[in-house]
Symmetry: C2
Subunit: 196 residues, 2 copies
């Protein structure tokens, strides 16, 4: 590839990626089209060839953040399906979700700052969750009667902890966070009647 070409080649992705870097440090509200364009080595107006609006750009960055979250919780699925295995994986997914929020709080916040209906072509956290819950029922670790709406129950709990613990408002000292997370995950387990 040439050192400098008039056409960038993949501006849309490059600008979103630069946006993610910025978001990780300063948050979604701090991104500026001009600065982003500069950091990619392009004129500000060029961005508008790929994004109609600043809102469109922000939405794309938020979407990318959601994809990163989905990847972070996409743990490998064990080849054999056991009650214990399914329950453990389910638990690990929940922990991975909270950990992502704790490690990248601004990225996590950006993922939910602009919410679009999920696009079916991109990896979605919802699908990961659905799969894990189906595994729970298939393995017999969770009664089928509890299955409907289970995604929301689990997600609400985990999302709630992440959101509140990430924010300074949490009012919970750092050394107690582990216990709170534990307690919330146990609540989910109890609520969904996951046995092992």
């Amino acid at each position: 590839m040439a050192v400098t070409t008039y056409h960038h080649g993949d501006l849309a992705n490059a600008v979103v990626e630069a946006g993610l870097r910025r978001v990780r440090q300063r948050g979604l509200s701090a991104i500026s089209g001009r600065e982003l364009a500069g950091s990619v080595g392009v004129t500000p107006a060029a961005i508008y060839r790929h994004f109609t609006d600043k809102g469109h750009l922000r939405a794309a960055i938020s979407q990318a953040a959601r994809e990163q979250l989905a990847r972070a919780i996409s743990l490998p699925r064990p080849r054999t399906l056991s009650k214990r295995g399914a329950a453990e994986r389910f638990r690990q997914i929940g922990l991975a979700y909270v950990e992502f929020a704790l490690n990248e709080p601004l990225l996590y916040a950006a993922a939910f700052e602009i919410c679009e209906p999920p696009r079916p072509d991109s990896p979605s956290a919802w699908e990961v969750l659905t799969e894990a819950l189906d595994d729970l029922v298939r393995s017999g670790a969770m009664p089928a009667s509890r299955r409907p709406g289970a995604e929301m129950v689990a997600w609400c709990a985990v999302h709630g902890v992440s959101n509140l613990i990430t924010a300074p408002m949490a009012g919970v000292p750092v050394n107690q966070r582990g216990a709170v997370i534990q307690q919330v995950l146990d609540g989910v387990k109890r609520s969904l009647q996951i046995t092992p």
Copy 2:
């Protein structure tokens, strides 16, 4: 009072209240100092006599939103303390929280968009929750062993539902929301071992 005075009299509060009106319609990110100043009938620069920064102004509006939320869930406390009464009030508080989020989604989002450590002088949602949980233990509706960290467990669940259900991402059709809310609240009850 005169029709027009050089000094406004209570600009800080007036501008925050105008900000709340704006937030309710367009969201916290859409507020502009100039427009707010204009809507209160004052010069843009006047705001900076009361707020150091735009961040400061936004934080004040967010704080005001949090106070509205706290007021919305401050249900009257029954005079006699029974197990059934304490459990029912706890439940009603949770429902009021979710309802607030559903009725005023942008205001609710603004309340958590900027989080400061809670000021002890203002009515706080946390205190309402603490009081309700203490009542649960006092009335015997909840074992004392489950008390530590119970605020977080309850808040995480309710906050999670509100947050996800409010956003388009929820992926849950409107007619199923009631069931999901019900399920999440039941999960809290189970997790905290609230008996009646």
